[in-house]
Structure formats: structure tokens, C-alpha cells
């Protein structure tokens, strides 16, 4: 590899000395430390404790922001972590030779395979993997300290899954960045109203009512349902692609989608009737050309969210 990081595991923990949960003599800490195999990378219980503390507080022990975790909840959170992966990642980030040997043996090939699958070609995939691999080893220096993206791994998912997701993030960001750099002339035509096909300046009253009903209905639907609509209608994903994300069978996705669309239609009709329209007018209105509605469904589906994520995606 050419570069041998000199940082030690003991240096990685910058968390406060005192832990809210664990003390070095805690039986739970000992158990977790043993389970993680931290000794193999020279990580003592005190530093292991710091890592756990940092991970726990960063994720608020898996609870909603602002909630206070009890000791039992904290213990359950720690038991749910991929401790072996976490220790390996931290040891690699700190430059432990043995950890790197293990990482290379276990993850190098999967990393390349994942990159090729994500990029869709071997050349691009290898380039993507090489780039990340170099970063993982700690080429990026900030304030004189070598930093590795592995340090941001918190052990909630598997390390392999984290690598795949990181690769996918890099690929998507690169794709979007290069797409944004396209000259304006190359942007898809027709997105903006042309002189020959001007957008209607003002919607008729009945279409406004319809638009209002659509917006109100979509705002009311649940998060999972909004996700379904976005994935299926905006992203154009197939049921087969959506199903694993929700951990359900594609038939379930299909059924949910069918019910959802039927429910939305029913709710829109109800809203329109509530506006004082009669049934016939409502039926006529539902037959309106959707292009006549000046609605941005993408925006409507993207309701503002709580400030859940305080972390930049790309390292």
C-alpha cells in the first residue's frame, strides 16, 4: 500500500473521559469488549468504552432526538451494534496494521464487486473503488491529522453494507455533479414553457379546486405511502426494486400501491364534494388532463421534515 499510518488506536477516542453508562469494570463492558474482539487490535476496555459512548450519544441510543435513554435502552442499543465491525473500522481508521490486513482480506474484493455493480461497468467501478479505498486508508489530511471515512462508521449496519452505501453515495454525488456541469444548452428542452406552448397563466376555478384537493390529500398520507408514490411515480422504480427497501414482498408493494391510489382518489372525491361540487362535476373534474394542473407533485410529496440529520453526507 505504500503508506503506513502511524496513528494508534488509543488516539482515536476523543470522547469525554466519563461515560454515562459504562465504567471499565462494568460486566457489560467486559462482555461487549470480549465479543468485539477488540483485544486483537490492541484496543483496551477504556478506549472501547469511549468509542461506545461516542457512538451512543451520536445516535442518541436509537431514540428520537431529545429523548433520554435509560440504562436498559442504552444496553440494548449497544448489544444491537456490530461490535466486531465497529472495532475493525476504528482500528483501521487509526492505522492498525493487523486490522488493515484483516480488512484487505475480508473486504477488498467485495468492495470492488460492489463498485462494479453500482457503476455498471468494470472500468468505472474499479475507479470508484480505488478512490474510496485510498480515502479509507487515510490519504485525506485535515489539520495535519490523517482522516479516514471509516472513522464515521458507527456500527449500526454491517461494515460491508456501509462500504456499499458509501460507494453508492460517491457514485450518485459524482453523477449529479457532472450532470449539473452540463452546459445550459444541453438541458432537456421542454421543461420550461416555450412561446409556442405557453403555460396557462391562470387555472380555471374548478381546476384550482382539484389542485387544492390533490395537495390536501397528498399532505395527509403517511410517510411510507409518500415514499411509495415517490419511488414508483417519480423515480420510476419497479415493484421489485421497491420491495427490498421496505422489506416486503413485491406483491405487497403492488397491493399497497393499488390501495393507496384508490384511497387517494376516494379522498380527492370526498374533498371536492366537500367544496360543494356535485357528483357529476366531480367526475368531470377527475377526467381533466393532469397536464392542465399546475402541480408539482414532487414538491407536494416532499413535505418538510424534522431536523433529523445534522451530518453532511459526503466526508
Amino acid at each position: 500500500m505504500g503508506i503506513t499510518p502511524s496513528q494508534h488506536v488509543e488516539d482515536i477516542a476523543s470522547a469525554p473521559e466519563s461515560s454515562q453508562l459504562l465504567v471499565p469494570s462494568s460486566p457489560l463492558l467486559k462482555e461487549l469488549w470480549r465479543e468485539a474482539g477488540a483485544a486483537a487490535y490492541g484496543l483496551d476496555q477504556q478506549n472501547f468504552n469511549r468509542i461506545l459512548y461516542r457512538v451512543g450519544t451520536a445516535r442518541n441510543y436509537g431514540l428520537e432526538p431529545g429523548a433520554t435513554a435509560s440504562r436498559k435502552q442504552q444496553a440494548a442499543f449497544f448489544r444491537g451494534l456490530r461490535l466486531a465491525d465497529l472495532v475493525l473500522a476504528k482500528a483501521c481508521a487509526s492505522g492498525h496494521e493487523g486490522a488493515w490486513e484483516h480488512f484487505i482480506a475480508a473486504y477488498r474484493q467485495p468492495l470492488f464487486r460492489a463498485a462494479i455493480a453500482i457503476a455498471g461497468s468494470e472500468t468505472l467501478g474499479r475507479e470508484l473503488a480505488d478512490q474510496l479505498y485510498a480515502e479509507l486508508y487515510g490519504l485525506t489530511a485535515r489539520d495535519g491529522v490523517r482522516r479516514s471515512p471509516l472513522d464515521s462508521y458507527k456500527g449500526k449496519g454491517s461494515l460491508r453494507g456501509w462500504l456499499r452505501t458509501t460507494l453508492a453515495q460517491r457514485h450518485v454525488d459524482h453523477h449529479r455533479r457532472t450532470r449539473r456541469e452540463l452546459p445550459l444548452d444541453n438541458l432537456a428542452e421542454g421543461h420550461e414553457p416555450s412561446a409556442a406552448n405557453p403555460r396557462p397563466q391562470k387555472l380555471p376555478a374548478e381546476l384550482l379546486l382539484l389542485a387544492k384537493a390533490v395537495v390536501e390529500t397528498l399532505e395527509r398520507i403517511e410517510t411510507v405511502e409518500r415514499f411509495l408514490l415517490a419511488a414508483y411515480y417519480i423515480d420510476g422504480r419497479t415493484l421489485l426494486e421497491i420491495a427490498p427497501m421496505l422489506h416486503v414482498h413485491e406483491a405487497t408493494v403492488s397491493r399497497k400501491l393499488r390501495r393507496l391510489v384508490a384511497g387517494i382518489r376516494k379522498q380527492i372525491v370526498k374533498s371536492l364534494l366537500g367544496y360543494g361540487l356535485n357528483k357529476r362535476a366531480v367526475q368531470e373534474m377527475l377526467g381533466a388532463d393532469p397536464r392542465d394542473l399546475d402541480l408539482n407533485l414532487k414538491k407536494i410529496l416532499q413535505i418538510s421534515l424534522p431536523d433529523a440529520f445534522q451530518e453532511k453526507a459526503a466526508l
Binding site: 464515521s152 462508521y153 456499499r164 416532499q302 440529520f309
Partner: protein
């Protein structure tokens, strides 16, 4: 302004991968899902990560030797089922073939009683196997043994139930008990019956070609035992069988599974004819109630018939894995269908259309 740019803050890779691996708690999962609803970038990331995971899983499966048995498991059941069906047939027919048949004396020609001594001695040991082998021997090019009262194809129908309905066309059955023997439809009048030379010639040919060397019990079969088998089998023509209608090269006994499953159903089978499924494939498992019938074809697709097997319609897949068995299960609320996939998981349905995991 692109609405996706409104968020410069995204969940970190760990949260996204944990979401994909279903390792998050309810609160965190809800947060991620809510974010993904409005962030096409993170949706794209998850799609790609999922795609990579699937590709990796496929490669791991193909590379790992320990995974081979699992990958081939879906095909293992075919020979296993063939073996089981063969055993079931042997158990069914062995007592009938070995038991004396009083009615044989009436229909058997005198010449049969004067069979060669060697054949008579061997007849006691000749069990099930000679029957299908003796049925025809077109592969050897000789004169087939013909029954006095029935055409040979009928004999074949009875003695080899798993090959029933295949006699109108040559059927190359890979079953070891049948070997490469092909069946031929050939009518022969009782006046032409002369078993002794035919049997002798047949035995000589078989010895010469080694076709009957595999089992000592099958090499010397008396005409009595053969005729007993014929008549016994004739009396059991109602044994249901879902043999292929054409000469597909499928393991003969595999079609017996459908028979067994149909019999296992509380309401029995819907007849002896094989179901003609829209997929054109043979049924591997069927189950019927009063009017409804379900059948699984070789591709694992499920079909439903609501008119006792006359018309079939595909049933949307609501189960995971490859469906291999369907049967009727009696419950408190009446008979329900039960479907089993290759992993042994079961689903139940009252109407055959909507399935719920059991």
C-alpha cells in the same frame, strides 16, 4: 431551483445501510423513510446499494462450494420424488403381482401354462420390474410381447402408471427401471397370441443386450406373472396419474407427485386426465375440492380452475421461493388449500386466489 437541493444534510452511510439492512429502531427508521420520501439522492443511493448487495450475494452463492447443495436443491427434489414414487409403486404393486390370481386361469391361454421350467422357477421371484420392461421392446427391434385380451399399450398403461397417457407417442423415459424402452401402439388380435416364442425371443434379446442384467429378479419372468400384472393393473386403471400429454423427457416418476398430492387432498383428485395448464408444462402437484382445483406446474407457477379442471387461470404469486406442493387441508372452517414452497414454508388459502403465510 431543484427541490432536491434543499437538503444538503443527508443521513450518513451508516444510517442508510442500517436502514437497508433493517437494523434500525422504529424511530430511526421513520426518520430515514421520511427523509427518503423527499430526497431522491438518498433513494438512489439505497437502490444502488441494494443492487450491489444482490450482485454480491449472487457471486457469493456461485463461488461458495458450500452453497452448491442449496442452489441445486430446487432440482434435487425431482429425482428424490422419482425415487419416492418408484418406491410407492413397488409397495403398491408387489403384493398384487406376487399373489395368485384366480381369474387368470380363465383368460390365460393353454400355451402360457406350458411355460419353460426356468421361467416358472423364476416367476416366484419376478416382482414388479418385468412388467414394464416386457411391455414393448422396440429398442431391441424384436416382436413385443402382446396380451391376448388387450393391446400392448393398455398393458403399458397399467404397469407403468407414471408413464400413462404417453403411449400415443414414443416416450423416452429416463427412469432406470424403464431404461430406453419405447412404447408403441400396436393392435394385435387374440388369434395372433403366441407368448412362448415371443417371450423366449425377448429374453434372449434382453440377455444379449444386457438390458435385464441389472436385476436378477427381473431377468426371468413367467408369462403368468406378466399376465397377472397385466390384469391386476387393468383392474386398477383408476389410479390417477398426471403424466405429460406429450413426449417430454421428464423423469417418469416425478409426475407421480401430483398423483400423491391429489390423493392427499381431502376431496380427492379431479380425474385421471392430466391438467392441461396454460403454461403448457406438466403439473407437479395438484389439489382439488368440490369444484376448485389447483395445480403447480414445473416452473412453480400456480393455476386455479373453478370448473373441475376444464379451464385454468394463473394465480398471482403471493409467496416466496418456488412453489412445489399444493394440497387440501381440512380445518375448522372447512377445507383450505395449503401451498408449500421449496424452503418448506407454507401458505394457506380458502379460495386458491388469496394466500396468506401460515
Amino acid at each position: 431551483m431543484n427541490s432536491n437541493l434543499q437538503l444538503d444534510l443527508h443521513p450518513d452511510a451508516d444510517s442508510l445501510s442500517a436502514f437497508a439492512e433493517e437494523a434500525l429502531g422504529a424511530a430511526e427508521r421513520e426518520q430515514i423513510l421520511a427523509h427518503m420520501t423527499q430526497c431522491s439522492r438518498c433513494r438512489e443511493v439505497i437502490y444502488l446499494a441494494q443492487k450491489a448487495a444482490e450482485a454480491e450475494a449472487l457471486e457469493t452463492l456461485s463461488a461458495a462450494p458450500s452453497g452448491r447443495w442449496y442452489r441445486s436443491w430446487r432440482f434435487v427434489w425431482v429425482p428424490a420424488a422419482a425415487l419416492a414414487a418408484a418406491l410407492a409403486l413397488a409397495v403398491t404393486f408387489y403384493p398384487r403381482l406376487t399373489a395368485p390370481a384366480p381369474e387368470m386361469a380363465k383368460i390365460a391361454p393353454q400355451s402360457e401354462q406350458a411355460a419353460p421350467a426356468s421361467l416358472e422357477q423364476a416367476s416366484a421371484g419376478a416382482a414388479l420390474k418385468p412388467a414394464p420392461v416386457v411391455a414393448t421392446n422396440s429398442a431391441a427391434g424384436g416382436t413385443p410381447f402382446t396380451a391376448p385380451r388387450r393391446p400392448p399399450q393398455e398393458f403399458a398403461l397399467q404397469t407403468a402408471p407414471s408413464l400413462a397417457h404417453a403411449t400415443k407417442e414414443n416416450y423416452a423415459a429416463p427412469s432406470p427401471s424403464v431404461g430406453t424402452v419405447q412404447m408403441r401402439t400396436r393392435q394385435q388380435s387374440p388369434a395372433q397370441f403366441n407368448p412362448e416364442p415371443a417371450v423366449d425371443a425377448w429374453l434372449q434379446r434382453q440377455r444379449a443386450t444386457g438390458a435385464i442384467a441389472a436385476s436378477a429378479n427381473t431377468t426371468q419372468a413367467s408369462p403368468e406373472s406378466m399376465k397377472t400384472a397385466m390384469d391386476r393393473a387393468s383392474a386398477n386403471r383408476s389410479v390417477p396419474s398426471f403424466a405429460p400429454v406429450s413426449n417430454r423427457s421428464m423423469p417418469a416418476a416425478s409426475f407421480g407427485i401430483g398423483t400423491q398430492e391429489a390423493k392427499a387432498g381431502s376431496a380427492g383428485s379431479h380425474g385421471t386426465n392430466p391438467p392441461k395448464l396454460p403454461s403448457g408444462l406438466a403439473a407437479i402437484s395438484t389439489a382439488t375440492t368440490q369444484q376448485r382445483a389447483l395445480a403447480i406446474d414445473l416452473a412453480g407457477a400456480l393455476f386455479l380452475s373453478e370448473d373441475a379442471g376444464k379451464h385454468w387461470q394463473p394465480v398471482a404469486r403471493q409467496w416466496t421461493g418456488l412453489a412445489i406442493k399444493v394440497r387440501v387441508q381440512s380445518g375448522l372452517s372447512g377445507a383450505v388449500f395449503q401451498l408449500t414452497n421449496i424452503n418448506g414454508s407454507t401458505w394457506v388459502s380458502a379460495d386458491g386466489k388469496t394466500w396468506t403465510v401460515q
